[in-house]
């Protein structure tokens, strides 16, 4: 049975790669953009789910890590000429002026710098209880944003960075997404994953079982920050432009929405939810804009889209707390063990 599952996994991955090829060659640039966004939000959703869903730490600072990652990648990948163009108010710090890295090392660096930020923030903040942790991480995220808005020579301040090299394509975004999914699957199946879940279930019992709370919380937090940084970098180099206002609490809320809808603590749920929410967000843009039906124009109501999503979040949290998947995960068993069918068979035999 195990061998069968391995084959199924390999077949699925090959099929998915085929799908990516197909999309890359047939979709128009608008659809490709959405596909890219889906992949990026899978990465971001999983990074938040690791911290909030699997380890039970209520962190609201994700936008901050994304900002760190996005800016790191941007500053590393922009050519000196583009940098010159951007930093017209004040010149960029000398050590970055002539730096131009290829995308892959820039991505890794984005993750590393975000992880360092995660470690620095986590070390003090993770000693705090739930609500306090939430506010502290939110506070740190805002501090990061304010700093970025004011350090003209490093980040170009409120002007933001434009004309970033748009390296992110379907292979980068979904390649990272698949790697992230694999990483999460193996992490949560292993001993450390169990330790994280133990901390989520009952901190005091986990500590009594010999698990160092602080060490494990920091590990989870730092890994989550790393992934958020990579996600932020992918996002920046997809949109081609970043500025501090992009990284307000609203962005964290978006990712939180994805995680809650999919089921806190479920990798499958986050993946499905990331895709569904990203596509819906685009699809529901129609609500915000006017619809021209030829003979009549229905006025759009700006902001309606977010009303729908906020209401959806409320409905889920009030009535379907488990979200789509709860803590359950996808397994091939769904297809191979058709329980209903077997029960009927058994009844016949009896």
């Amino acid at each position: 049975m195990k061998i069968n599952k391995k084959i199924l996994n390999i077949v699925a991955i090959i099929a998915f790669i085929g799908l990516l090829f197909f999309m890359d060659n047939t979709f128009d640039s608008y659809k490709i953009r959405i596909v890219n966004l889906c992949g990026i939000y899978v990465v971001l959703g999983l990074s938040l789910n690791l911290i909030n869903g699997f380890t039970g730490l209520f962190s609201l600072g994700h936008a901050g890590f994304m900002a760190v990652g996005a800016y790191t990648a941007a500053l590393l990948t922009m050519s000196p000429a583009v940098k010159d163009m951007n930093f017209f108010l004040m010149p960029i710090v000398p050590f970055l002026a002539n730096v131009e890295w290829p995308f892959f090392p820039a991505l890794i660096m984005a993750g590393v710098v975000a992880a360092i930020a995660g470690f620095l923030i986590g070390a003090p903040a993770l000693r705090l209880r739930d609500d306090y942790l939430a506010i502290a991480t939110l506070g740190f995220s805002e501090i990061i944003r304010v700093i970025f808005t004011n350090t003209q020579t490093l980040t170009n301040g409120a002007l933001g960075l434009k004309s970033l090299p748009t390296h992110t394509n379907i292979w980068w975004s979904w390649g990272t997404a698949i790697l992230t999914i694999a990483f999460m699957v193996f992490l949560t199946r292993g001993s450390y994953g169990r330790a994280f879940k133990a901390i989520r279930e009952d901190e005091i019992a986990a500590e009594a079982m010999g698990i160092s709370l602080f060490k494990h919380k920091v590990i989870s937090f730092t890994i989550g920050a790393f992934l958020a940084g990579v996600g932020g970098a992918l996002l920046g180099n997809l949109l081609g432009t970043i500025d501090p206002l992009m990284f307000r609490f609203f962005l964290t809320f978006n990712i939180l929405l994805i995680v809650v809808l999919g089921g806190i603590g479920s990798i499958t749920g986050t993946v499905i939810s990331a895709v569904v929410v990203t596509v819906s967000m685009e699809a529901l843009r129609v609500l915000d804009q006017s619809m021209d039906l030829g003979f009549i124009i229905i006025e759009g109501i700006p902001g309606m889209r977010m009303v729908v999503f906020s209401a959806l979040l409320m409905i889920v949290i009030l009535f379907y707390q488990q979200g789509l998947m709860g803590t359950k995960e996808f397994t091939w068993d769904w297809f191979t063990k058709n329980r209903g069918f077997k029960q009927i068979l058994k009844k016949d035999v009896k």
Partner: protein
Amino acid sequence: MTFQFFMQHLTNGISLGSLYALIAIGYTMVYGILRLINFAHGDIFMIGTYVAFYLITLAALPWWLAFIFAIGITVLFGMSVEKGAYKPLRNSPKISVLISAIGASFLIQNLAIVIFGGRPKAFPIPDMFNQIINIRGVSIVSLTFYIPVMTLAILFVLVYFIQKTKTGMAMRAVSKDYEAARLMGIDVDKIISLTFGVGSLLAAIGGIMWAMRFPQLAPLMGVMPGLKCFIAAVIGGIGNIKGAVLGGFLLGVGEIMIVALLPALTGYRDAFAFILLIVILLIKPTGLMGQKLTEKV
């Protein structure tokens, strides 16, 4: 740096601090009772200002009547938020309630964008509050005096209410021990609703005064103040009303004075609150006037 300069900014700081204090009290009371960060508190404050605005401009009510109605409507609104978003989750894990609070906050903000429109509106300030008074070369708008006076008056009434009345005692009991209060025959649901009501009352009053001080209404106007006021409550010691007032003033005066004395740091004005928060959480997480909560193992 002249005396006038200093006094000008100090009075502004005290004024701002009073506003922060009023809103912070609402946060701290709700947290004290439910251990819940009411993220929607800042948005309730925003609703209060818009209702007052429409009552004056559309319904053409005299300002004092508009204010009273606005406060009343906001109180009802705040209490319904509690009934809809928090009450159903009272026995759920903390994370669910926190998410619900954030969700409610965003929902209210976005509804405001849809209903009121995103463009800022100018709040009509009644003449009484708009007089310029000149004291020894320092020009201050009359509102700047009314705000701290109003805040202190409210504070006295509130403290009296909490300490000397039966309902106030019930509120204190519920915040100390939920279950025991229920066993003593206190209608916990009613007390919680009342707490939200009082919090919303303060938010509405604070909001209207805020709108007169910064007369630009926007749907997201409650976000930053809301966050800062929660931080003020935490700094003072969450659950402690006097602490909230202390935190509010600290934040208000600090914010204004820092920008006044070090103009180069103007961009970091908003960060001041957050930095102060981190410092307090690291040194004394229970806040300046807070008590330690031990969990029974």
